[in-house]
C-alpha cells in the first residue's frame, strides 16, 4: 500500500526540495485527485440518477394507473378512458424462468468447474476453460436466435414426453398439444445455457484457489477424490459459488432479447409451464416499447424500476456474501 504518502489531498509531498516544484506538484496532485475522485463520485451520481429518474417517471405512471399495479394482469397504459397495467404476470414469469435457469445451471456449472479444476486432464482443461470464457462473450441476441430457430423445434419432443409422463404434476401439463415450445420452460433452459459460462468461470476461479495443503491433507488421510472435494474444496468455495450463482441469477433476470425472441408473450398467468405465454419484465419493455405512447413509456419505466430494484437486491446480496473475498467477484469475467 502507498502508506508513505498522505492520501487526502496528496499535496504535502514533503520530499520535494524546492518551493516552486512543490507548488507545481501540489497543483498537479490536487488536479489528479479531483479528477479521479470526481470519476468515482460521477459513478455514484449515475446510480442515483438511474434510481431517481425511474422513480420520478414511475410516480407519474402510477398516479394514472386505475388498477392495482402489483396484482393486475393486463398491460394497457395507453388506454385513455381507463389506463390499467400491472406487473403480476411479469413478476411471475421473471421469477419462474429465473428459478428454472438456476435449478438447471448451478449444479451443471459446479460440475463443469470441478471438471476443469480437478477432474480433467490438463491438456483438455486449459482449452476448455478458454472455450467457456469465449462463450460467456457470445451476445444474447445470438443465443436468442439460436434458441428460437434451433432449440424450440428440438424441444418439441421433450415437451410432449414431459406432458405424457410428468403431466400429473400439473405444472408440466400442456393444454395446447403440438404448439411450438415458446414457453417459460424453454425460456428457463435457454437462460440456463446463457448463464452457465459466467457461473462456471467464477466458480472455477474459486476452486482453483483452494489451498493445495487442504487437498493434500484430505488425500493423505485416505479420502477418495470425491471425499477430498466434499471436505476440502466445496466448503472453501461455497461463498464464491453462491455469489457466482447470484451473479448469474442477476443476468438471467435482466436478460432481454433472448427472452423476447423465444417466449411468446401474453398477459396470462399460468402454472402450466409448458404452455406458451407469460412474460418477463425486460421482455415486456422491449416488446411494448415501440408502440408505447407517453403514458405507456412511463408505465414501462415503472416496471423497469421494479426490475432494477430486484437485480439490485440480488447483486447487492451476492456482493455482501463475498465481501471478504473480493477477488472472486467476477465483475471482470
Amino acid at each position: 500500500m502507498t502508506s508513505s504518502t498522505p492520501d487526502s489531498s496528496g499535496g504535502r509531498t514533503t520530499t520535494t526540495p524546492t518551493g516552486s516544484l512543490q507548488g507545481n506538484s501540489r497543483r498537479g496532485d490536487r488536479l489528479f485527485f479531483v479528477a479521479s475522485a470526481g470519476s468515482g463520485i460521477l459513478l455514484l451520481v449515475i446510480m442515483a440518477a438511474i434510481a431517481g429518474f425511474l422513480l420520478y417517471r414511475s410516480g407519474i405512471a402510477l398516479s394514472k394507473d386505475q388498477t392495482n399495479f402489483f396484482t393486475t394482469f393486463e398491460w394497457d397504459p395507453d388506454n385513455i378512458l381507463k389506463p390499467s397495467f400491472g406487473i403480476a404476470v411479469l413478476t411471475f414469469g421473471t421469477i419462474v424462468s429465473g428459478c428454472i435457469a438456476m435449478v438447471l445451471a448451478v449444479p451443471l456449472a459446479i460440475a463443469i468447474a470441478l471438471f476443469i479444476s480437478h477432474y480433467a486432464p490438463r491438456k483438455i482443461a486449459q482449452p476448455f476453460a478458454y472455450l467457456v470464457d469465449l462463450l460467456a462473450a457470445v451476445p444474447s441476441i445470438v443465443y436468442g436466435l439460436w434458441g428460437a430457430l434451433f432449440l424450440v423445434p428440438h424441444l418439441a419432443g421433450l415437451t410432449s414426453w414431459m406432458n405424457t409422463y410428468l403431466g400429473w404434476t400439473y405444472i408440466f401439463r400442456t393444454t395446447h398439444q403440438g404448439a411450438p415450445a415458446r414457453n417459460l420452460f424453454t425460456t428457463g433452459i435457454l437462460l440456463a445455457i446463457m448463464i452457465l459460462p459466467i457461473i462456471t468461470a467464477v466458480s472455477r476461479e474459486v476452486f482453483r484457489q483452494v489451498p493445495r495443503s487442504h487437498e493434500e491433507a484430505a488425500l493423505a488421510l485416505g479420502a477418495t477424490r470425491w471425499e477430498m472435494i466434499r471436505t476440502a474444496v466445496l466448503p472453501f468455495g461455497r461463498p464464491g459459488v453462491i455469489s457466482a450463482s447470484m451473479l448469474g441469477l442477476g443476468r438471467a433476470l435482466g436478460e432481454t432479447m433472448a427472452v423476447a425472441i423465444v417466449l411468446s408473450s401474453s398477459n396470462v398467468l399460468s402454472l402450466h409451464l409448458l404452455d406458451a405465454g407469460g412474460g418477463t419484465f425486460a421482455q415486456n419493455i422491449a416488446l411494448k416499447y415501440s408502440e408505447a405512447g407517453p403514458a405507456g413509456k412511463d408505465a414501462l419505466m415503472a416496471s423497469g424500476l421494479v426490475l432494477f430494484v430486484i437485480t439490485l437486491l440480488v447483486n447487492g446480496g451476492a456482493r455482501l456474501i463475498i465481501a471478504r473475498r473480493k477477488e472472486y467477484s467476477g465483475a471482470n469475467a
Binding site: T2, T5, D7, G10, T13, T15, S25, G28, L31, A35, S36, A37, G38, S39, L43, L44, I46, I50, F53, L54, Y56, I112, F115, Y119, F128, L134, L135, A137, V138, P139, I141, V142, Y143, L145, A148, L149, F150, G157, I193, L196, P197, T224, W226, G250, R251, G254, T256, M257, A260, A282, A286, Y289, L300, M301, G304, L307, L312, N315, R319, A331
Partner: protein
C-alpha cells in the same frame, strides 16, 4: 493394482488379511463402460424408435452413470463407488454442457457462412425488399463501430480514473461506497440503462434518437467492467515501484501517470477490450435509443442508426421469412466473429504484457 492380490496370495499367513489393498477395477474400466453405455443407448434408442439423437445420448449417459456405479460398488466397495459416481456425473455434466454450447457455435457458423460475402458486408438494406434476397449489413456494422467507439471514449477514461482513485487514493467511506456501487452497477440490466437514458436524454432533455444516445447507455454498462478489471491490474503493480518513485521526489500524480499506469497498461487494455466485446452485443438499450434505419447513416449524433444486434432482431422479426433468417444468421456470424476476435486479442495482450506478479 490387480497384481497386488496375486502377490499377497503367496504369503503363507492365512490368519491375517490376505490382501493389502481392496480390489480395484482395471484402468480401462471407465472407457469400457462408456463404450458399453453408448452401444446400449443406441440399441435402446433405435429399438424404441426414438426420433431425437439427443434422447439416445441421454439414455447412454444415464446408463454410463448407473453401470459405473454398479460395477464399482460390486468390486470396490461403497466409498469407491461414490467416488466413481461423482466422477462419472462430472464427466456427464461436462459433455451435457458442451453439446448446446458447441451446437450454438457450429449452427451459427453453418448458417452464417452461406450468407456472408463481400456484397453482404458492403451493402445496406436501403431499397431492398425485406422479404426478398440481397441486402447487407454495412449500415449496421458502421453503426456498431461508431456507437461502441463513442461509448468506449466515454467509459474508458471515467473507468480508468475511478480505478486509480480506488487503488491509489481510496481509503475511508467514499472508497467503500464507490467499490460497492461499482459491483452493483455491474448487474444493472441493459434495458434499465436504456430506460434511464431514454428518460434523461430524450424525454427530459429533449434530444432526438441517435447513435450517441445509444452509446451513452452502452457507456453506463461499460464503466463498471472497466473499473473492476483496471482495479485488479493496478493492484498487481508492485509497491516497490511506487516507493522508489516517491523516494526520488516524484509527485504522486506523476508516479501514477508515468510508473503505475504504464506498468499495468497491458492488463488495462485487456480489460477495456473485454468490456468492448461485452457491450458490442447489447441490443436492448440500443433498440430503444438508436431506432432503426435501413440506410447508411454515418453521423452518430443525428438521426436513427442501425447496429448489428438490432439488425439481427429486425431480420428475425419478419416471421417465417427465410431470406430474413439468412441475413440474421449472417449478421450473427459477423457479430460473434467480431466479439471473439476482440476476446482473443485481449487475451493475447494479457499474456504478452501482464505485470510480473500476474498470471
Amino acid at each position: 493394482m490387480t497384481t497386488a492380490t496375486s502377490v499377497t496370495d503367496h504369503v503363507p499367513l492365512p490368519q491375517l488379511h490376505r490382501r493389502l489393498t481392496t480390489a480395484r477395477l482395471p484402468r480401462w474400466a471407465p472407457a469400457a463402460t462408456a463404450v458399453l453405455a453408448i452401444a446400449l443407448g443406441c440399441a435402446i434408442g433405435a429399438g424404441a424408435g426414438l426420433q431425437s439423437h439427443l434422447q439416445w445420448g441421454l439414455i447412454a449417459a444415464l446408463l454410463f452413470v448407473v453401470i459405473s456405479y454398479g460395477s464399482s460398488a460390486k468390486v470396490e466397495g461403497r466409498r469407491q463407488a461414490r467416488d466413481q459416481l461423482a466422477t462419472s456425473l462430472v464427466w456427464v455434466a461436462f459433455i451435457l454442457a458442451v453439446v448446446p454450447l458447441v451446437s450454438l457455435i457450429f449452427y451459427t457458423i453453418q448458417q452464417g457462412a452461406a450468407v456472408v460475402n463481400g456484397d453482404f458486408l458492403s451493402h445496406s438494406m436501403r431499397g431492398v425488399y425485406s422479404s426478398g434476397p440481397g441486402g447487407g449489413i454495412y449500415h449496421a456494422l458502421l453503426g456498431t463501430i461508431q456507437q461502441v467507439g463513442l461509448a468506449t471514449l466515454m467509459a474508458a477514461p471515467i473507468g480508468l480514473l475511478t480505478a486509480v482513485y480506488l487503488v491509489e487514493y481510496g481509503r475511508g467511506r467514499l472508497a467503500k461506497v464507490v467499490t460497492f456501487f461499482v459491483d452493483v452497477m455491474t448487474g444493472v440490466p441493459s434495458i434499465v440503462a436504456g430506460l434511464f437514458i431514454l428518460s434523461l436524454w430524450i424525454l427530459a432533455l429533449g434530444f432526438q434518437y441517435s447513435g450517441f444516445a445509444g452509446s451513452l447507455a452502452l457507456a453506463i454498462l461499460m464503466i463498471p467492467v472497466v473499473v473492476r478489471s483496471t482495479e485488479e491490474m493496478l493492484k498487481l503493480v508492485p509497491n516497490e515501484l511506487r516507493e522508489a518513485s516517491y523516494a526520488l521526489g516524484v509527485p504522486k500524480w506523476k508516479t501514477i501517470l508515468r510508473i503505475v499506469i504504464p506498468t499495468a497498461i497491458g492488463g488495462i487494455a485487456t480489460g477495456v477490450m473485454l468490456a468492448v466485446a461485452r457491450i458490442t452485443g447489447e441490443t436492448a438499450p440500443v433498440l430503444m435509443l438508436v431506432f432503426v434505419s435501413d440506410s447508411i447513416n454515418s453521423n452518430p449524433f443525428q438521426g436513427p442508426q442501425m447496429d448489428l444486434p438490432i439488425y439481427i432482431w429486425q431480420q428475425y422479426a419478419q416471421v417465417n421469412n427465410s431470406f430474413g433468417y439468412a441475413r440474421a444468421w449472417g449478421a450473427a456470424l459477423v457479430l460473434i466473429a467480431f466479439v471473439m476476435g476482440l476476446n482473443l486479442i485481449a487475451r493475447g495482450i494479457a499474456r504478452w504484457r501482464s505485470p510480473k506478479s500476474g498470471h
